[in-house]
């Protein structure tokens, strides 16, 4: 019942917000949403107490037949792979609600959609049935599309439509693969049982795995399927970007591990070398594209493309260490990218621009955004993989676990890691160092040197969510055993499965 409550709380909460009597103010709706999300976070934390980290398989399972004729069961379970993601979903949705301020249109629908997404994402992470996963995977699309198209930036219609088309194709490919499984095996078994050669030929497995890879590759996103992401991020509001980068992209990597690697271990082992090269390509392309960006948000979005490539590399390598690294990377990227988007959002809200050719000197201690800038430095250091922060431990595990299996792809990905330092140092150097400026340079240094920039200060309450995320990033970096303890048994078992068939 605990896992069901992780769905019930946000879904019922969504209805409560929608049907709240009278005309509640946006502040009241926000408070109600925050309370619901705090409850969800507490229950998610409660799952840790009941979770046995030494057991590799699914736990706290719930199984009810729903539509037996088509193989759709209400089957929920949690393991060391999904538990961290459920936690990060609860935490980051809460952060998104907390940082939602000045919502000017339809706050009721906004907060209801936020809760709906959180519930759907929980459902996708907890589903033990392929069709149930697909239902939840699709369920988050419409609210997300609405959140971009209604509460997005100036070019939101374009970005929302692009997002919808890409992710709808992703959904179709995944559903096609799931239904194809039924068709090729001649059964209506949509459980998470690995599909091996005794059930399906290797050709058949590859035929199903490839659409899954493309489907989840769009969601992650992997180059060249990433095209929707920078636009979606650029147009999305800050809370949505936090959710998109921190949680929703993880649906792709989670799907890859759960329904690619775990469901088709033989086929996965067969195409793993190609996946490793694809990962390295994605990492390098994402990093190089990030270097070329002048919009802070697009730069962070492209960094996401690069960093999610590490998860594919780890999944391709399939060693226990690499898979543990993949889980770490999902969590640390969730925290770090959420932090980065949150801070970019503060900069944008205060200065009205994200243009790196315009912004300068925001670290100015009295007239700039010094705390925001300091947290940004923490975030970019973590993203670049500096020791003591979450990014280091995840990248180290991924590279350590992959280099023995795919040395070339790993080395190329390590170059990508170095490039992270390049583009984020460019960002920090341009936007935060030098003389404070938020308007394009006039060409006359003396004139620019006399501009009096009057930014409003960042209140501590605006920065608190970022401080909490930064603390999480450092905590995970200094105490990686906290997460490793939860996931190690599951990832080791997963690694042995792939190792056994390879």
């Amino acid at each position: 019942m605990l896992l069901s409550s992780l769905l019930l709380i946000p879904f019922v909460g969504s209805l409560v917000v929608l049907l709240w009597p009278g005309g509640p103010s946006p502040q009241r709706l926000r408070l109600v949403t925050i309370l619901i999300l705090v409850a969800q976070l507490l229950v998610s934390l409660g799952a840790i107490a009941l979770f046995d980290p030494t057991a590799p398989g699914m736990q706290l399972q719930e199984l009810h037949a729903w539509v037996p004729g088509i193989g759709l069961d209400y089957a929920l379970g949690i393991d060391g792979l999904s538990l961290p993601l459920v936690l990060i979903n609860a935490a980051l949705t809460l952060v998104s609600a907390v940082i939602t301020r000045d919502i000017d249109k339809r706050p009721r629908i906004y907060f209801a959609m936020l809760l709906l997404i959180s519930g759907a994402v929980n459902g996708a992470f907890l589903a033990e049935n392929l069709l149930l996963f697909f239902l939840f995977y699709e369920l988050e699309l419409i609210p997300l599309w609405l959140l971009i198209s209604v509460w997005g930036g100036a070019n939101r219609a374009y970005a929302a439509t692009k997002f919808l088309i890409f992710t709808a194709v992703s959904g179709m490919l995944i559903l096609g693969a799931f239904l194809g499984l039924s068709l090729l095996t001649g059964t209506v078994d949509f459980s998470l049982t690995p599909v091996l050669s005794d059930r399906l030929t290797i050709g058949g497995q590859l035929l199903l795995l490839i659409p899954l890879l493309i489907g989840f590759g769009i969601k992650i996103p992997l180059v060249p399927l990433h095209n929707w992401l920078p636009d979606a991020h650029t147009q999305a509001s800050t809370p949505l970007s936090v959710l998109l980068a921190g949680v929703l992209l993880k649906l792709g990597t989670y799907g890859l591990l759960r329904f690619g690697l775990q469901l088709f271990p033989e086929a996965w082992a067969r195409i793993a070398p190609a996946l490793a090269i694809w990962a390295a390509f994605s990492v390098l392309y994402g990093s190089l594209a990030a270097i070329g960006q002048t919009d802070m948000k697009r730069m962070v979005a492209f960094s996401s493309v690069g960093h999610m490539g590490y998860v594919l590399l780890a999944a391709a390598a399939g060693t226990p260490v690499a898979l543990l690294g993949a889980v770490f990377q999902m969590v640390s990227h969730g925290l770090i990218s959420a932090l980065l988007f949150l801070l970019v959002g503060i900069v944008y809200r205060k200065t009205g621009t994200r243009d790196l050719q315009v912004l300068h000197g925001l670290l100015n201690p009295e007239k700039g955004l010094p705390l925001t800038g300091s947290l940004m430095i923490v975030a970019v250091m973590a993203s670049a993989g500096l020791p003591g922060m979450a990014g280091f431990i995840s990248e180290f595990l991924v590279f350590r676990g992959s280099i023995g299996v795919f040395p070339l792809a790993t080395l190329l990905s390590m170059v990508g890691s170095g490039l992270t330092a390049v583009y984020f140092l460019l960002l920090v150097n341009r936007a935060f160092f030098g003389r404070l400026a938020i308007t394009p340079p006039s060409g006359d240094a003396q004139v620019d040197g006399r501009l009096d920039v009057r930014l409003s200060p960042v209140a501590l309450r605006e920065t608190l969510p970022a401080i909490a995320l930064a603390a999480g990033v450092v905590l995970l970096g200094l105490w990686p055993a906290s997460l490793g303890h939860l996931s190690e048994a599951a990832t080791t078992a997963m690694g042995l499965t792939i190792g056994g068939v390879a």
Binding site: R349, K350, T351, G352, T353, V358, G361, N364, P365, E366, K367, F433, G434, R435, L436, I438, T439, Q446, V447, G449, R450, L451, D452, V453, R454, L455, S456, P457
Partner: protein
């Protein structure tokens, strides 16, 4: 409502050289008349006066009681070595005397005016040798250092002489600025023109004050800057101080880096324009920018009406030091204005064309230098 960057950026027009010259020759103040300006200038000069009082006492203490002390660990304590004072010092509940030293170094390094000429003269060298001879008999470290590095101790004495001279200069200025605040409260000063006149009168009154400095070694008095050197307040200390601190300064601005090898900094010190009148108020409180220390000191002594005025603007207490710096720049333009008026070759009311031409040339020379400064702060 979306934030439009341009709405957050304010810029005031800078004044041209011609306009500055016109204001100087017409007797108009450089700083525009306004009640806000009066509040800012008088208030900030009052807090500056309080700080200068402490700076002055400490510089004179250092020059007289830490003279040729090779390890002046307690030089900022003014001779009070009580545990409470040491604790307050370590806890940074104190005036930043480092800023006073920074100004002394700027004066010493730029070295203009009669004081510097005297420090390079033979009379001074002879005084130095007598002082060193007296001192080395009691100090084995100095006895060792002097023969090894013969230029070292005279240089320290030159530095001490500048320190003492600056202490004497600030003694006068501190009293003048505190008197100004009292005069404003009593209603004698109610406009910026009054402020400039008050400062000018104070400078003129002190102009001929002798600048002397002597030290006592083993009960015997030695002159470093003897009365017969004829050094006076205005031309030998005030003018070099204005040149070094207001105008030339040092090229460490905090947010801008210069490539000295590419001659982004002029090899000619006389061309430097990094002083208080050219400074960008923005980098306040950044690491390693000495004026920040002055702003911090002034913040501790800010008069309540001015503090209240700052609180009501932009970030309130958050950017108060930047605001102090902006007000300080306005008040320094007033002091410069007073100094120029006080040293004008002829009265402004003269009808003699030759005298008028001399005044015009003098005003033009100043206007040319000031035009590159932060004249944007002068608008109402």
């Amino acid at each position: 409502m979306p934030v439009i960057s341009a709405d957050l950026v304010h810029v005031e027009p800078s004044l041209s050289c011609d306009e500055l010259q016109r204001r100087l020759l017409s007797g108009q103040t450089l700083l525009a008349e306004s009640s806000d300006h009066l509040l800012e200038v008088v208030g900030v000069l009052e807090s500056y006066g309080e700080v200068l009082d402490a700076y002055s006492l400490n510089l004179i203490y250092q020059a007289e009681h830490q003279f040729l002390n090779p390890v002046p660990v307690f030089k900022y304590l003014d001779g009070d070595l009580s545990p409470a004072k040491i604790w307050r010092h370590l806890n940074h509940d104190r005036i930043n005397f480092e800023y006073a030293e920074y100004c002394q170094k700027a004066m010493f390094w730029h070295g203009t005016g009669g004081l510097d000429a005297y420090l390079d003269g033979e009379a001074f060298a002879a005084n130095c040798q007598a002082i060193i001879a007296a001192k080395r008999r009691r100090d084995p470290l100095l006895a060792l250092l002097n023969p090894l590095f013969p230029g070292f101790l005279p240089e320290l004495i030159r530095s001490a002489a500048t320190t003492h001279a600056l202490g004497q200069f600030w003694r006068v200025m501190s009293d003048l600025f505190l008197d100004l605040a009292r005069a404003e409260r009593s209603g004698q000063v109610s406009t910026i023109a009054h402020v400039v006149d008050f400062i000018k009168d104070g400078l003129v009154a002190a102009a001929a004050n002798p600048i002397t400095y002597g030290v006592t070694i083993a009960g015997q008095h030695h002159w470093v800057l003897p009365p017969e050197a004829g050094l006076t307040f205005l031309v030998d200390v005030a003018v070099p101080y204005v040149e070094a601190v207001f105008l030339r300064g040092m090229p460490f601005l905090g947010t801008v880096s210069f490539n000295a090898q590419a001659q982004q900094i002029s090899p000619d010190q006389a061309q430097f324009a990094y002083g208080a009148l050219y400074a960008d108020p923005l980098p306040s409180m950044g690491a390693g920018i000495p004026p920040s220390l002055l702003l911090q000191d002034m913040y501790r002594h800010l008069p309540e009406p001015l503090h209240q005025w700052y609180r009501q603007r932009t970030r309130g207490e958050g950017d108060v030091r930047v605001k102090i710096c902006m007000s300080f720049q306005k008040s320094m333009f007033c002091v410069t204005n007073a100094a120029i008026n006080g040293t004008m070759p002829h009265p402004l009311s003269t009808t003699d064309p030759q005298q008028q031409a001399a005044n015009a040339a003098y005003a033009l020379a100043w206007a040319g230098r000031l035009a590159a400064g932060r004249t944007d702060c002068l608008a109402a």
